[in-house]
Amino acid sequence: MMQFGIFTVGDVTTDPTTGRTPTENERIKAMVAIALKAEEVGLDVFATGEHHNPPFVPSSPTTMLGYIAAQTERILLSTSTTLITTNDPVKIAEDFAMLQHLADGRVDVMMGRGNTGPVYPWFGKDIRQGVELALENYNLLHRLWREEYVDWQGRFRTPLQGFQSTPRPLDDVPPFVWHGSIRTPEIAEQAAFYGDGFFANNIFWPKEHFMRLIGLYRQRFEHYGHGRADQAIVGLGGQAFIRKNSQDAVSEFRPYFDNAPVYGHGPSLEDFTEQTPLTVGSPQQVIDRYAAMRDYFGDYQRQLFLMDHAGLPLKTVLEQLDILGEEVVPVLRKELAVNRPESVPDAPTHAARVAEARAAETTVETAAAPEKEDTHV
């Protein structure tokens, strides 16, 4: 019903407790090990970020995900996020269609605008047009995956005449798309317009903000006729550090928190855990926190956890995944299934989307059939 997984930023960060910094090669291999572990412990999704500046390594997500796809069987591979602003939408269409074939459909993708200002000029774009780039580029991507031959002209890319993106999506069903955003109502609107998923990366901000952002997406999803507001496809971020005893979790994680690249040297661990979904404590504390998310955001489809940043050593991350996969997620699956209305959609998968597409075709054929008979009459 729901999907649980992990998303990684891919930062190379010094372990503040040892002063040791992994090499890029170690970090890249660690990300792969983390993805394999995620499958092993029964998680549903592994997603990687995209960055074009150190200290981050994942500049080439489909290469990494293809490599992981070859070594896994079940886990769904995704991104968090793919830069729809600065990447060529044609190349996104092709890269992810290729990955979709190689991974037998275990692929979806999350669009994002990126939060590193200089990436725009590095790729010849202007950050002041970030939203416009996201809208126009995605519109082209959406067409490339659905229309065999595309004639297209826009503001940001060289025109296309009779262009056929290749390979075509697996089973003619494009990868499911999530639109990720932290603060931008226009992106919620965009996700609603297409009936795509909306992923609110809420790990650094208070829930009050995301209740409004997700509320907007749900209402506009309904407005555009894709279903009721409570049937919109919502994903949430999360962050946890878990040990059997709550105090052990706090004391072990605190130096990583205090020195973390994003929020280190700012708010206290206590303030931050109160204001954001970060939960540092026992498995039960994490279960309680995340089982309550739907009280604020409604029943949702995907929960991703950030588990491997801020210099945490690989060994620790793998232990964390064991606890997450074996003690936390199975309970969350059960608890979040309770009282979940039948009409709330399951998290999207390729198989389900193919079945849906085929059913829609059959409906069209059956609807067309009587007409045919009529002409014979």
Binding site: L135, P185, G215, H265, Q275
Partner: protein
């Protein structure tokens, strides 16, 4: 009689501070000047000192705490704003600038602002015009022409300005602020960017998306 919301922001660090003392005087004079124009003003006074950690955390994390968010909303929805900062190293204090830095850059567009500042000696008085006024010009706020600077000596008789004493400057600035506030309608509620109504047909996003999709 019409109503206006006056918000007072003071960046004084001690309790009580000279900045607060000046802010209270300016606020009282402004309420009186508005009353003369048949406008009733409510006053909300914000001591930035009480938000010092929240402001710095916002710089680091990028989001305001719930209480800071409420304070910033108060400021953004003010019909008139009185700001008072101590002068540190020839300019506004770091605490004051941090408040400005986390404020939405559009929050004060068109808002009448009265600038006050205080320091140990009158030699810092031009800081209002070379340092603080440009800040509000950047924010497209409507800063009234008279800024009120108070040196320590202004609080006594000995070395204060006996020709044009502090209270006279306070009242002149207050009259300017009252005039600016009275000619404006009470500030309309800002368009809520998360309200689905702001995404109806004809909105900029609706137009953009509609144009793309051929609707």
């Amino acid at each position: 009689m019409s109503d206006r919301r006056l918000v007072v922001v003071t960046a004084g660090l001690s309790t009580p501070s000279s900045s607060r003392l000046l802010a209270d005087r300016i606020a009282a004079a402004s309420v009186a000047a508005l009353a003369e124009r048949d406008v009733e003003a409510s006053v909300t006074t914000i001591e930035l000192r009480e938000y010092a950690r929240d402001l710095m955390d916002n710089l680091i994390t990028g989001f305001p705490s719930v209480r800071l968010d409420a304070m910033l909303d108060d400021v953004a929805s003010a019909d008139g704003l009185i700001v008072v900062t101590p002068i540190f190293s020839t300019s506004y204090s770091g605490l004051f600038k941090t408040f400005i830095d986390v404020l939405d850059p559009k929050a004060l567009t068109g808002t009448p602002v009265l600038i006050g500042a205080n320091a140990g000696t009158a030699r810092h008085s031009l800081a209002i015009d070379y340092a603080i006024r440009p800040l509000f010009a950047y924010l497209h706020a409507d800063a009234v022409p008279t800024g009120v600077f108070a040196a320590s000596s202004d609080w006594g008789d000995a070395d204060g300005d006996t020709v044009r004493p502090l209270q006279e400057r306070v009242e002149r600035a207050a009259r300017e602020l009252a005039a600016a506030m009275a000619v404006r309608q009470s500030k309309p509620l800002a368009v809520d960017p998360f309200d689905p109504a702001s995404f109806g047909d004809g909105s900029s996003v609706g137009t953009m998306l509609g144009g793309l999709a051929g609707f």
